[in-house]
């Protein structure tokens, strides 16, 4: 058997699955979809500036914004709370390096589902990505990543034990230091512009307050 045979065999699946995957749209469906998309765009246009309020974070005077989202007053615990049973609007804002999106579905414990949320600010010295990989074994952190000899270690930050898989990568500006760690069942990666390892721990302390 070869891959073309398998491809052929896939062609003979039950017809209901073929149409389930991609119902053939008629013109009426296209028009309705277009109107719904236009309405959704209008709603988001008025809604996006209020996203921090929706998350319960609130805007503070002097905070730095990017695309309606700020991280100056954010902590890891608040990041977790964003997903805890809350329905969020799915949206992707920004370019490939700094993207922000959240999911419409309830935070899932299914190991096949994961959500990635990146909060970033171009002018600050760090950004943090939250990966929710329930059920994933720690060994899976190694996918596409290079570990130093120190590999995984556990550190105590403000009384909280945090497992860190730390490695050094020469990232593109502005981030020089990359730390992958797990806290409260959720995997995060922290990117820091400073070369100093102490700065990484200072930022972790701030995030884990």
């Amino acid at each position: 058997m070869n891959s073309l045979m398998l491809f052929e065999a896939i062609g003979e699946i039950d017809e209901k699955y073929i149409t389930e995957a991609k119902p053939v749209s008629g013109r009426k469906k296209i028009i309705i979809t277009f109107i719904a998309s236009a309405a959704a765009c209008l709603i988001l246009f008025f809604f996006i500036p209020n996203i921090p309020n929706f998350f319960g974070m609130g805007a503070q005077e002097g905070d730095i914004y990017r695309n309606g989202c700020h991280i100056e007053n954010m902590t890891l615990k608040k990041l977790s709370a964003c997903f805890d049973g809350k329905l969020l609007a799915e949206n992707i804002i920004g370019d490939n390096d700094f993207e922000f999106y959240s999911k419409t579905e309830k935070f899932s414990e299914n190991p096949d589902d994961w959500y990635s949320l990146l909060y970033s600010e171009y002018n600050t010295d760090y950004s943090i990505v939250m990966h929710c990989m329930f059920g994933e074994e720690k060994e899976n952190w190694k996918v596409d990543m290079v570990f130093t000899d120190e590999a995984t270690k556990t550190v105590n930050i403000n009384g909280t034990l945090v497992e860190i898989a730390q490695f050094d990568l020469t990232l593109n500006y502005p981030f020089k230091h990359y730390v992958l760690f797990q806290y409260d069942g959720v995997v995060y990666d922290l990117r820091v512009s400073s070369n100093s390892e102490d700065t990484v721990y200072e930022i972790l302390e701030l995030l884990l307050k």
Partner: protein, 188 residues
């Protein structure tokens, strides 16, 4: 556009307008299935024309319950036959080569001929059961990629996921398929 049942009735009455109506409603659909495999407009157009001939020769006596899927299957099978011919002549390319390379992770490549037909029938049953066992989103995504031949980019747009999430979901589903095929002895 006409209802599918009315189009099928036209085939039964041997009314040639059935082909025109089929082309109006499903021409683009069949073309995109063919193009995803053949990556050539000329070959795809010819395949679509062959599809209509195939349908004309099949209905009657067949009376498909889901006309779009019936058409899609004919187009797909004709495209695969044409693809075989093109690869023998060292032509073709596009998404299908990537798709076949992904699917080759699930099989042990072996071109032994004698039991091919029997194996094909058994394989089809195994794949059907596997597809039925998947969760809805997984299944839809798998079919978009490996039945319709859609690119990862277009799947990510359709489902509203990032391309990396699409790739990792497809990777996990292929691993599950591989495990099923191994269990059924397709890796011997």
């Amino acid at each position: 556009m006409l209802d599918d049942n009315k189009i099928i009735d036209m085939f039964f009455m041997r009314n040639e307008r059935a082909i025109t109506e089929t082309d109006k409603k499903y021409g683009r659909y069949c073309y995109s299935i063919a193009y995803n495999i053949l990556f050539s407009s000329t070959e795809s157009e010819e395949t679509v024309n062959d599809t209509y001939l195939g349908v004309w020769n099949s209905i009657p006596p067949q009376k498909p319950s889901v006309f779009s899927a019936f058409l899609g299957k004919i187009t797909r099978n004709l495209s695969i036959d044409r693809y075989r011919k093109m690869t023998a002549e060292k032509r073709g390319g596009g998404e299908i080569t990537i798709i076949l390379s992904e699917l080759s992770e699930c099989v042990k490549n072996n071109d032994s001929t004698p039991e091919k037909n029997f194996e094909m029938k058994q394989l089809t049953e195994t794949v059907n059961l596997f597809i039925a066992s998947l969760k809805k989103t997984e299944r839809k995504m798998f079919i978009c990629r490996y039945w319709y031949g859609d690119s990862v980019k277009s799947i990510s747009k359709q489902f509203g996921f990032s391309e990396s999430k699409v790739k990792s979901m497809l990777f996990r589903t292929r691993n599950k398929l591989k495990a099923v095929l191994e269990e059924e002895g397709y890796f011997l």
